[in-house]
Amino acid sequence: MTPMLTADEMLVRALIDQGIAHIFWHPGGASFPYHRALSKCEEIAFVLCRHEVGACHMADGYARATGRPGVVMLTSGSGATNSITGIANAYMDSVPIIVICGRDSVGHSVATQLDETDMIGVSRPVVKHSYIVPTANDLPRIVREAVFVATSGRPGPVVIDLPRSAYESTVKYEYERSEQISLRGYRPAESGHTGQIRKALEALLQSERPVIYAGGGVIQGDASPALLTFAECLDLPVVTSLMGLGAIPGANRLCLGMLGMHGSGLANNAIAHSDIVLALGTRFDDRATDDPEQFCPRAKVIHVDIDPSSISKTIIADLPIVGPVNEVLNILIQLANDKQELQSKRNVRYLSWWKQIDDWRQQPSGEERHTKESDSSNRIHPQDVVQTLYDETRGEAFITTDVGQHQIFVAQGYKFSTPRRWVTPGGLGTMGFGLPAALGVQFAVPQGMVVCITGESSFLINLQELSTCAQYDLPIKVFCFNNGTLGMVNQWNQIQGHENEFLGYAESMPDFVQLVESFGHRALRATSLDELKQAVYLAFSEEYKNQTVFVDVWVDPNVLVLPTKKRGSGTSTEVPVDS
């Protein structure tokens, strides 16, 4: 027998049936109609956030760490529009979040509600899909579809607008669990074209200087184990994009690190000199390619992506393969295993290429660490903070960041051992992401070591969530790289030869230790490397392990992120190995 439920109960029930265990929310007038059912619901934990964008970033961090959809519930009007940056951020990085907003205006049908902010319209360019719920009867289907659309294919955010007319709290509806999905306009590719995949393998075997370029899609598509197996099988070097960090263990010999504007010389050299690039789940962002004309100029490009619109967008693919990276890699592994001669030749393939790579690896270009010669300050070098944290956490922490120099220092220095531990706002570059994202990750992984690395300016953007952190006792560790400036902006300004004065905020920053303590958290300050080591030790010690710890780290403001290249100067400055 199908149960009879009121509209609010329908919503809650539909969410439970989709396995939703957490909802990040901020209430208001338009959410009243469902408060009754929410308050009675025991299967779902409701996390009350202090700002809607905080709720979205939490859901985003939650989704990145697990692959499960992060769900947000908000009220109408400003409650809904406050979430836009969070939705756009999830859209740019292909993260599955579902944002449910109420609509609270007079009128009994959607059509008569003219005075409401049009959340569907406002969010349209930054969602994968959106729904207006016409009647409560549609709720089970819409929730089911929303979860499916958000998490399948190239994942992305979905908005659900719940007009007041969709609930009449006294009327009961038949609840039918929605199983069937019928979306004739939405059929994500399930596998790649076998003929193309076969050609890709042949091309790799015939090449002399191959490189795998792994992007965020490898992580989103849970393809990391397959990537490692395939790379090992053929002995292929792997570079990653910013979003692809963790796709292959950072300390593995095959991993050449991150490519691009702030990438390693090793990774950029390898790409620039390659004769074939196997690009997996990446969109060739301009921070990775810089000038597309100069990017891997001699290489044939094989591009595997679940989203055809990513293929040949900036770099023309010689061999496009539309499909889930994991499936495609599994077919490649299968085909490679079927080839007898592969087994015997494993150690002689690409010999001179590996010799070249290892030479590059031996001699760091001198660009890896920047210290100002005139500077005798003994303030902390940001790279030492990253190294200290890496040593302490053995590459196993979940790390969230904001945007700026601190973000790049982590990307360059922290060798992630596993996927889904690197949580950074890569596409939109959203300052204010790090703290709420860390809370979301901690909700998803209660036993995990969660570290937020932030800059003092980024941190101020969403610091209200320190209160959420106190309410739910989340033992995250925050390391604020306090350089007293909008570091990354300053750096670019400097490279362009502009004055920096007008960008400064000199003496107007708060005392971060007092500020954070006022929320009831532990706060420490580190002004020297010794103090930093002590603080890191304390933060992860038995005593502080279960507490939120914030460390105000006074890093050297004169240190720049390297390599520092003007846009358009190409990713490699080296001469070709051969022609």
């Binding site: 569907i120 319209g121 349209r124 360019p125 994968k128 899909h129 959106s130 207006i132 499916f148 659309v149 190239r154 999905i181 019928s182 979306l183 004739r184 306009g185 939405y186 059929r187 989203d307 055809p308 619109s309 967008k313």
Partner: protein
């Protein structure tokens, strides 16, 4: 470069604006569009004419395919196809000119669908070039009002644009 897209999509509120948003977002102007339900009334078909380079239209096409409500997209300029547009023109037709205008209308196989003592309203169907040719022939001075439906297009031959079986 002329691009003529035929797009099949869900006939539901909000679906069209998602399609059009992809053009607006890239600052691509839409020259004409014509849209109505198909033989399956749950589905709408849109024919959209725009002037843009091949690369832009390819990106837009890929993004159209990404939209959850869009079922099929083809660019008719790459295949043999038939194009038609309907136009209603109100012209001023007085005295001796009435005969002349009627004759021109006949030559273009137009129909006079409304008559007053000093105007004709003429309906004309054909490829866009023919409609423009007619306006030219009538002469700007006589034209009071022009309404065009936008181009409709369909492929030649037996091949059809259809939704195919349902399912995810």
């Amino acid at each position: 470069m002329k691009q003529l897209l035929a797009i099949l999509f869900e006939n539901e509120a909000g679906a069209l604006v998602r399609v059009l948003g992809l053009f607006a977002q890239r600052n691509v102007n839409i020259e004409s569009l014509s849209v109505a339900p198909t033989e399956d009334t749950t589905m709408s078909r849109l024919t959209l004419l725009t002037l843009s380079d091949a690369q832009t239209i390819e990106q837009i096409t890929k993004h159209l395919n990404r939209l959850v409500g869009v079922v099929k997209v083809i660019n008719l300029v790459h295949v043999e196809h038939v194009e038609r547009e309907l136009m209603l023109v109100k012209v001023c037709a007085e005295g001796d000119e009435r005969q002349e205008i009627k004759r021109t209308c006949d030559i273009f196989r137009g129909q006079i669908v409304d008559v007053t003592t000093n105007t004709y309203t003429i309906q004309l169907v054909g490829p866009t070039a023919k409609l423009l040719g007619f306006l030219e022939a009538i002469g700007r001075a006589h034209i009071l009002e022009v309404v065009r439906s936008g181009t409709c297009g369909i492929t030649r031959g037996a091949k059809v644009l259809s939704a195919g079986p349902k399912g995810a």
